[in-house]
């Protein structure tokens, strides 16, 4: 079965956030074994061999990132581990569910990671709006401290590590790892230039690793069940499982954990129950609002994994799958997405600060019935200035600029330019809707 329950196994148990229940389910055994019986480098090698890739968006190999960290941090130059829990990519809601319903899985994963990376102080940077998750995590942390799983000499070993919960305050850009570090330092969340990479010069100028919630939640399972088991799921280059947050016009929107490489067709029609009212699927964004949408015919020949989605012109991103049925006006979808990036641009670099606003204004103008034929080329020009001639050819300071350009340039305009042209020519959508935003798009 492509649908599996590994990270999501105990999410339906209302008592799971309590440490007693979590331990009944075998939690903290992997952390105990790692700290007492394994060498830090053994764990790093395990992660490298597993092929685990970051689940937060970029998909970088976790083991490789870890490999850049110093082997012998000193008191003057300590290493830090940050869990990026600033989940704010539109369409993505698996981290929130993992934290609210199974906080100890994340804490255990972080303890194992801290031991592997020789980290004395860890942080969870949780999105400010996720107050309930922060409360649940704070309680779970207290329990883990009380049991001696965090703090001095954990599990009776010589290893000590602390975990600090830090709340953000509402800024999408702080999900970008360098902006997150600035925010955690008490500054405006502006991205930093790379290099130097965080593993060399990160939080407070010290070596730092930043991993996503879901990535870290994989660690206990990997330690418990080993590389062979982990690699038995997924594909050669996308190993393990992925929790896909399915939303939009499907019958059963929810977080589904699937093995990497599951056909998108199966995800939409079998797992998520198909399209609402038995309408036709028109298009879908496979990996959160930053990623280009793909039309039905492309989706149906794509598998849900890093390589397959990239080969078909989009990306897995954060795993937010947003489905549109055939009553959806793509120009209106693009307006919502463009507005989001305009609102969330941090203002540090010019292409993004000006470009995101300009792009949104042009789309609004079209929807207001005032579009001009040259607006199509205008939008493409703005997108090139934001994200380059090709995908991954960034011209903005940080990936937010690409993220603003991709869904318009390589999604909306690439596959549905005719809808933009129709709006411009007829001052209404091909679905017969007039200017202005309807209740549902």
């Amino acid at each position: 079965m492509p649908q599996v329950r590994i990270l999501t196994k105990w999410l339906d148990d209302p008592e799971q956030p309590k440490i007693a229940r979590a331990m009944e389910h075998g939690y903290y055994a992997a952390a105990r074994r790692a700290v007492l019986e394994m060498q830090p480098d053994e764990i790093i090698d395990l992660v490298k061999a597993s092929g685990l890739r970051g689940r937060g968006g970029a998909g970088a190999p976790t083991g490789m990132k870890w490999g850049f960290m110093p082997k012998e941090p000193t008191q003057q130059r300590p290493s830090y581990l940050i869990c990026n829990a600033d989940e704010s990519e539109p369409g993505t809601y698996n981290n929130r569910e993992l934290m609210e319903k199974d906080p100890h899985q994340l804490i255990e994963g972080m303890i194992i990671s801290a031991y592997a990376l020789r980290v004395r102080t860890m942080f969870i940077y949780i999105r400010g709006e996720m107050v309930l998750a922060a409360k649940i995590l704070a309680d779970a942390l207290s329990e883990a401290y009380a049991k001696g799983f965090l703090g001095e000499n954990i599990f009776g070993s010589k290893f000590s590590t602390d975990l600090i919960l830090h709340r953000g305050a509402g800024a999408y850009i702080c999900g970008e790892e360098t902006a997150l570090m600035d925010s955690l330092e008490g500054l405006r969340g502006h991205p930093r230039s790379k290099p130097p990479f965080p593993a060399v010069q990160g939080l407070y100028g010290m070596p730092t690793t930043i991993n996503n919630v879901e990535t870290l939640c994989n660690l206990p399972h990997l330690v418990n069940q080993g590389v062979e088991w982990f690699r038995s799921m997924g594909t050669e280059k996308s190993t393990g499982t992925k929790i896909v947050s399915v939303s939009g016009h499907v019958k059963k929107p929810a977080n589904y954990e699937i093995t990497m490489g599951t056909p998108v067709e199966e995800l939409v029609y079998d797992i998520a129950g198909g399209i609402r009212d038995d309408n036709e699927l028109k298009a879908a964004i496979p990996g959160g609002a930053s990623m280009p949408m793909l039309p039905k015919e492309v989706l149906l020949k794509t598998n849900y994994d890093f390589e397959s989605l990239q080969a078909n012109g989009s990306m897995l991103g954060s795993g937010g799958f947003i489905a549109f049925d055939d009553t959806t006006d793509i120009v209106q979808v693009c307006e919502v997405i463009a507005r989001f990036y305009k609102n969330e641009s941090c203002g540090k670099c010019v292409p993004c600060r000006i470009g995101t606003d300009f792009l949104h204004k042009v789309i609004l103008r079209i929807l207001d019935g005032k579009g001009r034929p040259e607006d199509i080329d205008l939008m493409k020009g703005i997108c090139v200035n934001l994200g380059g001639e090709r995908m991954m050819d960034s011209r903005s300071f940080c990936p937010l600029g690409d993220a603003a350009a991709w869904p318009i340039m390589w999604g909306g305009l690439k596959y549905f330019q005719n809808e933009f042209e129709y709006w411009i020519r007829h001052k209404q959508s091909p679905l017969g809707r007039g200017p202005g935003l309807p209740a549902a798009i």
Partner: protein, 179 residues
Amino acid sequence: MLSEKAKEAIRVQMKRYPVSRSALGHALYIAQEECGGWVPGEAVKDIAEVMGMDPADVQSMMSFYVMYNKAPTGKYLIEVCHNISCALLGAKLLFDVLERKCHLHPGETSEDGLFTLKGVECSAACGGAPAVQINGLFYENCTPQQLEALIEQCRAEGAPKENLYNAAYTPERTPKDGA
């Protein structure tokens, strides 16, 4: 402006971090809670004094983040997600309800001081779209009828029983100091 208790809470926060400036985010939450939902200029000055910073520096940090309110807010903070998944499933209808029943547009506070409405970006509840948060509590798959009932309920109560946004639980109880 800020009470000694709040100042002490800020000092506790400063000790939790390797570099005390990291506590600035918490400090602003502490001030916001004490000042009834927003951070007035006087509180900014107090934070700067406690943390040994320039008030302009504190102000610059605060102005970047949307969750620090720069003006008084209503007793009930209503946040309606207007991002893609919620927009697809009728978030606009929820804004229409608030306009009709409370004469509120995003960013406004009602004249009676009861409600503040914010249109917010993806609140990570896309599986339950459209989603509304009232004082931090989620109402998923929210229909216009349900929202109307919620508004009536708030009016009848007069003051919220619970405000999840109050930061009290995050600071002192986070474990580093041994909870």
